[in-house]
Amino acid sequence: MLVLTRKPGQAVYIGDDIRITLMEIRGNQVRLGVEAPSSVRIYREEIYLQILEENKQALQHTSEIPGDLSQVAEVWKSRKVSAISTNTPDNNPSSEDEE
């Protein structure tokens, strides 16, 4: 791992088109600004790991269900999909991030 020391306002380039700026230090938090082409994906690590784990969970039980998916299809027919609200609580750390 390459470790660099930066002061607020200083930045690091990764390759030619990704730039990470240390914006400010607030107590025990550091605000980072990331500039990158929109095709480059940027994720907080804990979110990435959460998805990785969820994908593994998704795979784990599939060997136990009938291949024709009749179990889930049965329950699907008898109930409606649960509503999605944009305030759906999640287990993520709270995010004050700006786009």
């Binding site: 940027i42 136990e64 999909v81 649960s82 509503a83 999605i84």
Partner: protein, 148 residues
Amino acid sequence: MSSSSEKITFQSSRFGQIEVLRSAVIELPFGIIGFPECRNYVLLEYNPPFSWLHSIDSPELAFVVVSAAEFGDNYSFALPVGDKDIGLKQDDEVAILNLVTVRPDPTLTTVNLKAPVIVNMANRKGRQLILDSQSFSARHPLWGKGEE
């Protein structure tokens, strides 16, 4: 023989040998997150709206997926237009699939709305996108009130 009718076969630990049109193959250049080596999949639509997103590279690797269209207009997000890996342009037709986590009790089945699989139907390339900046759940109950 024209390439559009060319067939390929692959092994499935659930279904044995399966034959599909080569043109049906979906390529995920980075695979599903956590399974990066397996990049080629087919969609087996055995029980709509549920399908198997089945790897053709690994017989055991198959995910239950459901089309994002089932979740209505509240489930919306910006598509990765300009993404070089899937070559997505504005107005390209996409298929959006969400991985379903089946549990021993089927009523506890959840769907991952936080990490949809986007497939560019023009070239059949796709990727799993993480919607980090939005509050969709990785474990949205497929039915019921959905309160935790």
